[in-house]
């Protein structure tokens, strides 16, 4: 377990900033405690200082996870965001997309969402913008990237595994 290097932090911040923009500094600098990012076996964990100190007592090969896993670094050092980061991304999301109940199940099982399945969408969402998908009951489902301009046609939202 180790802290992230400059390069790794930059890559990770760039990825996360696609979804939450400047609100990222609220994750870094929290009023209610010191939270930090630590790397363990190529996975990035967002963990409070208290839990970090406890986790330091566990040997590396026995440690499975700590705090919240935000994502992992691939073999070629690209950062892949995981669904477990959703709890921290959703409240700070800049652009949101709501999908209708009918399309929700289909989306969760991995299918594309048509434009007709789209309930609401925040204004000024640009092309290829990173958004967080919500269900109509305001439950965050997944972060993903919009593939193309909203005005165009049919197959619109990719499902979350293809977003990264």
């Amino acid at each position: 377990m180790r802290p992230l290097t400059e390069e790794e932090t930059r890559v990770m911040f760039e990825k996360i900033a696609k979804y939450i923009g400047e609100n990222l500094q609220l994750l870094v600098d929290r009023p209610d405690g010191t939270y930090c990012f630590r790397l363990h076996k190529d996975r990035v964990y967002y963990v409070s200082e208290k839990i970090l100190k406890l986790a330091a007592n566990i040997s590396g090969d026995k440690l499975v996870s700590l705090g919240t896993c935000f994502g992992k670094f691939t073999k070629t050092h690209k950062f892949r965001l995981h669904i477990t980061a959703l709890d921290y991304l959703a409240p700070y999301a800049k652009y949101k997309v709501w999908i209708k109940p009918g399309a929700e199940q289909s989306f969760l099982y991995g299918n594309h969402v048509l434009k007709s399945g789209l309930g609401r969408i925040t204004e000024n969402t640009s092309q290829y913008q990173g958004v967080v998908v919500y269900s109509m009951a305001d439950v965050p489902l997944s972060p993903l990237n919009l593939p193309r301009h909203i005005k165009e046609g049919e197959k619109l939202l990719l499902h979350h595994q293809e977003a990264n």
Binding site: P3, T5, T9, R10, F13, E14, A17, E22, C36, R38
Partner: protein
Amino acid sequence: MEGQSVEELLAKAERDEAEKLQRITVQKELELEFDLGNLLASDRNPPTGLRHAGPTQEAELRALARDNTQLLINQLWQLPTERVEEALVARLPEPSTRLPREKPVPRPRPLTRWQQFARLKGIRPKKKTNLVWDEVSGQWRRRWGYQRARDDTKEWLIEVPGNADPMEDQFAKRIQAKKERVAKNELNRLRNLARAHKMQLPSAAGMHPTGHQSKEELGRAMQVAKVSTASVGRFQERLPKEKAPRGSGKKRKFQPLFGDFAAERKSQLEMLRVMNSKKPQLDITRATNKQMREEDQEEAAKRRKMSQKGKMNSGPPGLSGKRKGGQHQGGKRRK
């Protein structure tokens, strides 16, 4: 008036004296036990004053500590003193309490090879004298070590033995033999040490060519041979298609796990600020790159058309399309 003030002064002085005495003398039911060698005072009086005082007993505790320290210092003042460089020093007696071991008991070491052999054969160490009479220098010299009695490397005259090569340097031969003996001794010492700590010495066990080695063994031997140079393999040539060895650079140093959290946060916020400030600029450069690429493509297409249309025309319009320069470089995204 003056008389009164004088009386008052005297009374005050008396009171001060009494107070001082009161401070110095402490009344205790049981006498304290002192171990002045360790500067230790043990108080066996039952702490009645502390029981009912409640959670905040600071004042009582402090008073107790003061009293006991006062008694200890009274004892120290009774020791024999001496003066050392303008400071009054008390000579402490030997400590009477036995402190427990700091470190665990050392475990028995395994016997060295010689000790095992000697035990097997029943060889006992012979008592030898420290000094030996040296005829050559005419004095008592030590048996071994610096300026020893019989040092064959220090002889000024060596007869060449009958069967030896006349061109051989006998002096160098003796010095070389000495070096080899020293190295052998060092090796054996390290081997004994490794056996005692159950470690492995790096050895050339499987490295000698036998003709029946597998590919892995040969590869390992080759690796070891490559690294066994003075520069630890940095300047060894490789075969034309051989790949560079992985992990041969300097080991990376990472920040400690609990570094300074505040500093970490500050550097991350700084990085975020820089990232956010640079964002629009990057988009522009990307856009300009794209624009230029499109323009180049258009130019190329135009040129092709013109050359196709007719070679009678003035030919391709020269190198006007190459617009590589400051703008491009400024626009390229730096890593």
